[in-house]
């Protein structure tokens, strides 16, 4: 037996922080950071007698996320208490949702190694985040309740993943969708997107699921991928040795690169879920659901199809642009008055992307309006400037924020397309470069390049390259006769 005889089966529980201004049950800020215990009040610290009051925005955002993942929405939903003791949980229960989550049965399509694959979403529910324990030497542990009551959605998938690559692609797609829906900042380093991985293995061809382990709180896509790879191998080794996989919760130890057992099934909590009596059921009308649906922007998959069909750009390029909603929105504004939409896409993917890091791409941090790019592309399209001059103009726009037309005017960068003016230059260049001319005449097509270069040098790059090419060939052709 070898690893390739086994199949890995993975399901995810992804927690994402919603970007509401205030917490789920009180008016404290959700802002990240802050001195310990400064973003909290009697309600989020669970003082005796306090009661939760549901933030309506949380419901709206969760439904929006659900709709973005093609989920059904429960018009009658409720919240439940999940009971367990831990110092970061001041009420000793977490308000979550048990049997009637806000969203259920959705799906996300991913492409892995050229194959399309559907990942089913089992459910999406809302819940409150817990606080943070800070372990400082000497002083024992202290608790920071700033995070308590920050609203989360938990997205639970079906066990539809078969590799760590599936998971990585899915998480990236999920992140894009949440950013598109504008319901979460998805900042991994602030813990606003993290996932639990349920993993089991089985012999290929088997239909029964194997015993699974759960790996908690992976707050980096890379950790998740590494943990999956390690854990799959570990389980296969266990089986190959004739042992059984134990159902347990494990933790990824990044420094050692291994997963470590935290607690077994026997030690697992009985959460004693029951309906939260302090909160009323969440009732959402069909009209309200449609209203939320209509507030969703066009999602990335749909945009990619449209860019390919209508704008005639490659699917690869379309995906690069649609990866960020901000960039896609920018692109769509920039192409409105341009015939050659592909040219706009090229500018974005080459010149703009090379100047931005990942986060800036995400936010489309471009120092000028889409109309500037439109203007630049049109100046090239109508022959006013050449493509290479265009790059210089682009750089200048980026630096100074000036309009392309203004730069072209100021610096006299207009392309020389005047036949007479170019004809006389052609003559000069041919006269001054007899070797290149001869090379060309003897069949070295590439030699024309040197002559074009001389033309450009003489015009400081402003000569219309297409015309220069034609005129040179024509003139040399005449020489041959």
């Amino acid at each position: 037996m070898s690893y390739s005889d086994y199949e890995v089966v993975i399901g995810l529980e992804v927690h994402s922080e919603l970007k509401t201004k205030t917490k789920i049950f009180c008016s404290c800020t959700t802002e990240f950071g802050g001195e310990p215990n400064t973003h909290c009040c009697p309600i989020c610290t669970g003082m005796p007698g306090t009661l939760p009051k549901l933030n309506e925005k949380v419901v709206e955002y969760a439904i929006k996320a659900g709709l973005a993942m093609d989920c059904n929405i429960n018009e009658f939903s409720k919240q439940d208490r999940k009971n367990y003791f831990y110092p970061d949980l001041p009420k000793a229960y977490q308000v979550s949702q048990y049997d009637l989550p806000l969203c259920y049965e959705g799906e996300i399509e991913i492409e892995v190694n050229g194959e399309m694959k559907k990942i089913r979403i089992n459910r999406i529910h809302i819940e409150e985040d817990a606080g943070k324990l800070i372990h400082e030497s000497g002083e024992g542990s202290i608790v920071d309740y700033n995070r308590c009551g920050v609203p989360l959605i938990e997205i639970v998938t079906e066990p539809d993943f078969r590799s760590s690559e599936d998971v990585r692609v899915f998480l990236e797609k999920l992140r894009t969708i949440l950013l598109y829906a504008d319901v979460s900042d998805c900042k991994m380093n602030e813990g606003s997107l993290r996932c639990d991985v349920n993993l089991s293995i089985r012999k290929k061809g088997e239909t029964e699921l194997g015993t699974r382990t759960e790996m908690k709180n992976m707050n980096s896509f890379n950790y998740a991928v590494k943990a999956i790879q390690y854990e799959a191998k570990r389980q296969i080794k266990v089986i190959e040795n004739g042992d059984k996989v134990i159902q347990e919760t494990r933790r990824w130890d990044e420094s050692k690169g291994i997963t470590v057992s935290m607690r077994s099934k026997e030690e697992a909590h009985d959460y004693r879920y029951f309906p939260e009596p302090d909160l009323m059921p969440i009732i959402t009308s069909k009209e309200r659901i449609e209203e939320i649906r209509s507030s969703l922007p066009e999602m990335p998959d749909s945009r990619v199809r449209r860019y390919v069909d209508e704008y005639k750009i490659t699917e690869y390029d379309a995906r690069l642009i649609a990866a960020s909603r901000n960039m896609a929105d920018y692109f769509e504004k920039a192409v409105i008055d341009v015939k050659n939409k592909k040219a706009v896409a090229n500018w974005i993917i080459t010149e703009i992307y090379s100047r931005l890091d990942e986060e800036q791409k995400e936010q489309a941090k471009i120092p000028f309006e889409p109309a500037v790019l439109t203007e630049l592309v049109n100046l090239i399209e109508d022959g006013t400037i050449s493509n290479s001059i265009g790059k210089k103009v682009f750089a200048e726009c980026w630096e100074t924020g000036k309009r392309p037309g203004e730069i072209v005017e100021e610096k006299g960068l207009k392309q020389i397309s005047d036949d007479g003016q170019l004809q006389s230059l052609v003559k000069e260049v041919i006269d001054a470069n007899p070797k290149a001319v001869n090379d060309y005449l003897s069949g070295k097509q590439a030699a024309i390049g040197a002559l074009v270069g001389q033309m450009m040098k003489a015009t400081k790059g402003k000569a219309n390259p297409k015309m220069v090419n034609e005129l040179l060939r024509e003139a040399i052709g005449k020489l041959n006769n």
Partner: protein
């Protein structure tokens, strides 16, 4: 003029006509507390110094002609499970012995706005669990009618304080009868309004889906006055009902002719003390004399209410009381080995016997594998009981029953028999389960001269009908002229 014997509405009249001052009232009450508190033990914390300052402030305002609230200068006591900013709120538990809330319960803000003067925080059964006040961590409160007997519970301090004239009125909380049963034992008026009528914000939770704050007063007119002050929608409480609340005083004195009264025979079973049955039947007769129509009905679900109540309330309590873990506030055990041990020691030392019993019962009822058989089943029973009440109220305005199966018992008599103690709630818990309003008031005395309560129940948000009926009865009842021992 004996101010301590007067009702709130009588005092209001005298304050408004400037016959007396707020300071006069407060001083009379402080004197009274000095005199009888050592035998009654109704209070846990007294705030008499602040009370005098507050009374002076109100007198000043009155002198200046400023607009005053509806309870300006009226001296009150609050059950010690409602949060008072800067004043200890203990729930009569070692767990919260030194807990000082940083905020006021909504009812406290409302009473403050109306100008009420707080005399102190009242004794109760620990975390409102009990029917005798014997479960208080601090001390037992005595029944002012007979100091060897219990005042009832869990709002025993609230009922005893009104009966002993240690407050003009008090607030209690009622989860399964905790206002009405002590009102019955102490011969005062006590009401549990419709669930959702009075904000629970700041009421330390026992069983969230059943808890409701209500007043204990000297007469029915005061009940209407206090209800006007404390009812209303509160955006901080999601279970608070958003509607315009009526003026309860307005229709108080209306005729009750033609009102239909149901006597459910299940509330007059063999388990009820015969003298209680007699007196409640007398009330029905009196109402008939006043023009009401009285008919016997049957409510088959009645027997199921008590077990359903103990499952639901204990389940919710097990979760609500989990936060007392020694980490954030309240009691923390001195010696512990690790985190789990900290929890165990703190909760073992901080909670009393009855509280632990209910936490265990509730934890069990919610546990995986038992949920369906206990908690879920109890919730189904709850629906059946609600439906049964709805059905009766299709035909009747009021259901009339005894408030409890017996009158006040001797201190120590039932403390070692939880089941017998729980039976005290048999007439009151169905009302909390159904979420409807009910009032208990005195309708006579047993052979030991202990008060007997009659319970008026109506449909949700129909407090005004209860008050009308109770007022009509109060105006026409013939009670022997006996007063508390104290």
């Amino acid at each position: 003029m004996d101010l301590i014997k007067m009702t709130a509405h009588e005092l209001k009249d005298k304050l408004e006509s400037k016959e007396i001052s707020s300071v006069d009232i407060t001083k009379s009450y402080i004197d009274r507390i000095d005199k009888v508190e050592s035998s009654v033990n109704a209070y846990i914390t007294l705030t008499t110094t602040q009370a005098l300052a507050r009374a002076e402030e109100i007198d000043d305002k009155r002198a200046k002609g400023e607009t005053l609230g509806s309870l300006a200068g009226i001296t009150i006591g609050i059950k010690d499970n409602m949060c008072t900013k800067g004043i200890k709120t203990t729930c009569a538990s070692k767990m919260l012995e030194d807990f000082v809330p940083p905020y006021n319960a909504t009812v406290i803000d409302k009473l403050n706005n109306e100008g009420a003067v707080l005399l102190g925080k009242l004794n109760m059964d620990e975390f409102a669990m009990g029917s005798s006040n014997e479960n208080s961590y601090f001390h037992k409160t005595m029944n002012p009618w007979d100091l060897t007997r219990v005042p009832g519970g869990s709002s025993g301090g609230s009922a005893a304080a009104v009966a002993a004239n240690e407050a003009v009125f008090t607030l209690g909380s009622d989860t399964g009868g905790s206002i009405r049963q002590p009102a019955h034992y102490c011969g005062v008026v006590g009401m549990k309004p419709t669930y959702g009528t009075v904000s629970r914000y700041g009421l330390v939770a026992f069983a969230s889906s059943l808890d409701q704050i209500g007043p204990l007063t000297k007469d029915v007119e005061d009940m209407a006055l206090v209800l006007n002050a404390i009812t209303g929608y509160d955006k901080l409480d999601s279970s608070s009902y958003n509607k315009k609340y009526e003026d309860f005083s307005e229709n108080l004195k209306k005729d009750i002719k033609g009102k239909k009264v149901a006597l459910p025979k299940e509330y007059f079973s063999d388990g009820i003390q015969p003298e209680i049955k007699e007196k409640v039947i007398d009330v029905a007769k009196k109402l008939e004399e006043l023009g009401a129509i009285v008919e016997e009905v049957s409510m088959n679900m009645t027997d199921l209410a008590l077990p359903a109540y103990y499952l639901i309330s204990s389940a919710e309590a097990s979760s609500n009381l989990a936060r007392y873990d020694g980490v954030k506030y309240g009691y923390r055990a001195k010696n512990y080995d690790n985190l789990v041990d900290l929890y165990k020691q703190t909760r073992d030392e901080g909670f009393g016997k009855e509280v632990k019993r209910r936490i265990m019962l509730g934890t069990y009822a919610l546990s995986s594998g038992y949920y369906d058989a206990y908690y879920k089943k109890a919730q189904q029973v709850r629906t059946l009981i609600k439906n049964e009440f709805d059905k009766v109220f299709e035909k009747y305005d009021i259901i009339l029953t005894p408030t409890g199966p017996s009158t006040a018992f001797k201190i120590g008599e039932k403390i070692n028999n939880p089941i017998e103690m729980y039976m005290n709630d048999i007439c009151t818990v169905p009302i909390n389960i159904a979420g409807v309003p009910a009032l208990s008031m005195n309708c006579g005395f047993d052979s030991n001269n202990m008060p007997i309560g009659v319970q008026f129940i109506s449909k949700a948000f129909n407090e005004s009908t209860i008050l009308q009926m109770a007022y009509a009865y109060e105006q026409n009842r013939d009670l022997p002229n006996i007063t508390p021992q104290i």
